[in-house]
């Protein structure tokens, strides 16, 4: 067990930090620290160009296997990549759903044809993806999906509705869980389809969030189509593949997220020092606690990732989502408490709604404990799967 990095690791660190210093400049300079959660709308087109720029330099899919076109970087390099990216103020990645979820799913479960067809577009930063899981009646109870797909000739024809679909309004592709067996229920009879977003059978309607902005959408499928071969796994295997995708949410990219958290905490500490709150004993305890909690988050992630070869999911992996989501939500509140009455104020005229970064943090983190499995669902999973306690009664 060792947490320190080798000289070879440090050489890689120099490479990525040097690249960031050289390239996050000129037209990209203003993207620094922009586009994170709650700020997705900021400089979207410019960030799309940045994604392509990263793709050209081979910085997308750092942890993907080389056979899939990635760098096949060892864990230590992935850690360093994500840490240095965030340290340099790298902007929120518009391609993170493709790189972090769709791509790894296709690598793990897709056919060779699908890998050739879909992975290059993710690695170049050209194709953006969204996740079509949730529906009005399928939230925590994801297996209650009603969206239907029928095979008509060489096309799947899709009818139904998704909701809360992040970035659907800017995405090229969506991975959709749809019911492909008539009369089936629960997690049987579902399939995992890759669906192009730019077609007349699909209508995307943005939903305004409590931040005032619109990162997620309703997506209506009305005779939407995709080619018969755009199914990952066999018909009826959609649940298995979908669960595989969720597992990738625990990948190395969580380390990048943590570096972004680190930047936020540093900003809050700087404010506390500037406005004198850093002298308040209670505030000092809370700031120290947040700092400790973040170090533990990193250690927990490294422990989980160091076990990635094990067939059984380790307990630290089961608790990681509940942990980071709750920590981050508390950080949002801490930011407001450090700011005091000023926390409520943003620059501009009354009647406008342009939040500061910390206000976005405070509001957006209310969703951290909801998406990707609510805290309550996470606790159910920990109790039932990690601790082996009896399962919930299901209707």
């Amino acid at each position: 067990m060792k947490l320190s990095f080798s000289a070879e690791d440090e050489a890689f660190r120099a490479e990525i930090s040097g690249w960031m210093a050289d390239h996050l400049t000129g037209p990209f300079a203003r993207l620094k620290n922009r586009g994170g959660p709650g700020d997705e709308h900021a400089f979207f087109e410019e960030r799309r160009a940045w994604e392509r720029h990263m793709g050209k330099a081979g910085w997308i899919g750092v942890g993907w296997p080389t056979s899939a076109g990635g760098r096949g970087a060892p864990l230590s390099h992935q850690v360093i990549f994500y840490e240095e990216y965030a340290r340099a103020g790298g902007p929120g990645r518009v391609g993170h759903i493709g790189e972090g979820l769709a791509g790894p799913t296709i690598v793990a479960f897709g056919s060779e044809d699908q890998k050739r067809r879909f992975l290059p577009g993710i690695l170049s930063g050209d194709d953006l993806w969204c996740q079509g899981y949730s529906e009005p009646n399928a939230g925590s109870d994801l297996a209650n999906v009603r969206t239907r797909a029928r095979l008509v000739g060489d096309r799947w024809v899709i009818d139904g509705q998704k909701v809360w679909t992040s970035l659907a309004h800017v995405s090229d592709w969506c991975f959709v869980i749809a019911r492909t067996e008539d009369g089936s229920s629960g997690h049987r009879g579902l399939s995992y389809l890759l669906v192009p977003m730019n077609q007349k059978g699909i209508t995307v309607r943005p939903i305004q969030q409590m931040t005032g902005t619109s990162e997620f959408n309703e997506v209506f499928f009305d005779g939407a189509e995709t080619a018969a071969e755009n199914i990952v796994g066999k018909p009826g295997e959609g649940w298995k593949v979908a669960m595989g995708t969720l597992a990738f949410e625990r990948g190395a990219s969580t380390l990048g997220q943590q570096m972004a958290f680190r930047n936020q905490l540093d900003e809050i500490i700087a404010i506390a020092k500037a406005n004198g709150r850093a002298k308040d004993p209670v505030m000092r305890q809370r700031l120290a606690e947040a700092w400790i909690g973040l170090q533990i988050m990193r250690a927990n992630a490294l422990r989980m990732l160091s076990q990635a070869g094990n067939p059984e999911l380790p307990r630290e992996a089961y608790v990681s989502k509940l942990y980071w989501a709750t920590w981050h939500r508390d950080l949002g509140k801490l930011a407001m408490d450090v700011l005091g009455p000023e926390a409520d104020v943003f620059p501009g005229e009354p009647g406008t709604y342009e939040l500061t970064a910390l206000q976005q943090l405070f509001l957006f983190t209310r969703s951290d404990t909801i998406y990707a499995g609510t805290n309550e669902i996470q606790r159910n999973i920990i109790a039932e799967r990690a601790l082996g306690m009896p399962r919930e009664a299901r209707a």
Partner: protein, 373 residues
């Protein structure tokens, strides 16, 4: 960078869990905690034979020459078993301090199991001063909460000498030193009060005239070891609770099937796993730091791990009592042993508030001038 146990570390863990589970579980604790001694010397010699007392002692002095990750592994398992023994005081405190000082004396005897030992430095409450006298030193003062202070063969005591922190060795009983064991709620630990009234020591008793830095390092490493103890003990609380609630039927179903119960267990699991990550992070930092490194990273990690795991252990033990219902409140069930130990442990080597305040300082919350720029 690989934050997983090596094969050797897994072997140490397996062996420790096996031996402690068989011979030194809570039933053993109940037996020895009712005695004045507080531990079983015969069983202790078996632990010595396993090499545990030499774990962090250099090989040149008869030890295994292993590091703080291995120490954390043993402490975690001893916490799980709640094994009352001289290990914490002898190894995690005394041997740890002696290695930090690069001392020549005593380590061999500790490794061989010939002596037990303890350290009375910043971990004890009170103060001792040393005055140079003809051919030696005189020690005066009072220390409370010295672990194993009444029963250890060797007492390493920190005393202020010419404005610096010096470390002295006291073997056995000496005139002017009164060692009084304290009766405690948590009977698995044996703190003592040490009263120094004109204790005359020969010059040779001085181990180091300027031991401050080394002792600070040693106390941080000891805090990491205690965090690891907390991890094992907290996990045991979780296991007892899951087992009990799965077997206990009310309203026609196991109480473990109630979500209010499951969610509390999930929170315990979160507390245990994050504490484990914290303890082993800090143990790795301790290994990286060595005996001469800059101690700041270790201070942060140790304070982080101790405050976090200490609270986690208390929360888990408290939840364990709650979820056991009435039997959790009985002397017969083991939960209270852990609950009392958790309370005591939280305060040893600085409580959570103390360590968080230390972190607050170290991360720069007092550097207000810099902020103003």
């Amino acid at each position: 960078m690989n934050f997983a146990f090596t094969e050797d570390q897994l072997l140490i863990q397996d062996a420790a869990r096996g031996w402690l589970g068989e011979f030194a579980g809570p039933a053993h604790a109940r037996k020895v905690m009712a005695t004045k001694e507080g531990y079983d010397p015969a069983l202790w010699q078996q632990a010595v034979a396993l090499g545990w007392t030499g774990l962090i002692v250099p090989e040149t002095q008869g030890g295994l020459g292993l590091g703080f990750v291995e120490l954390a592994i043993l402490m975690e398992e001893m916490g799980r078993a709640l094994y009352p023994s001289p290990f914490e005081a002898t190894v995690a405190l005394a041997a740890n301090a002696l290695t930090a000082l690069g001392a020549e004396r005593y380590l061999e005897a500790i490794a061989a199991g010939d002596i037990t030992a303890t350290l009375a430095a910043g971990n004890a409450i009170g103060e001792v001063t040393a005055t140079p006298v003809d051919g030696g030193y005189r020690l005066d003062g009072l220390l409370r909460h010295v672990p194993d202070g009444a029963r250890a063969d060797l007492v390493l005591v920190a005393a202020t000498l010419d404005g610096r922190t010096a470390l002295f060795a006291i073997e056995g009983e000496v005139a002017g030193l009164t060692r009084t064991g304290l009766a405690t709620m948590d009977q698995t630990r044996r703190p003592a009060e040490l009263r120094f009234e004109g204790v005359a020591l020969p010059a040779a008793a001085l181990i180091a005239a300027d031991a401050g830095r080394a002792l600070a390092l040693a106390l941080d490493r000891a805090a990491v070891a205690l965090a690891a103890h907390a991890v094992g003990a907290a996990e045991k609380c979780l296991e007892m609770t899951v087992d009990y609630t799965k077997g206990r039927v009310q309203f026609g179903r196991p109480v473990a099937s109630f979500q209010a119960v499951k969610h509390q267990c999930a929170d315990m699991a979160l507390a245990v796993e994050t504490s484990r990550s914290a303890a082993y992070w800090a143990a790795c930092v301790a290994d990286d730091c060595g005996h001469n490194g800059d101690g700041t990273a270790l201070a942060l990690a140790a304070s982080g791990a101790k405050s976090w795991a200490g609270r986690a252990y208390f929360d888990c033990a408290a939840t364990a009592i709650q979820l056991h219902g009435g039997v959790g409140f009985t002397w017969e069930y083991d939960v209270h042993l852990y609950f009392k130990n958790a309370r005591a442990l939280e305060a040893v080597l600085g409580d959570g508030a103390h360590h968080r305040e230390r972190v607050a300082h170290l991360i720069g919350l007092d550097d207000l001038a810099e902020a103003a720029q």
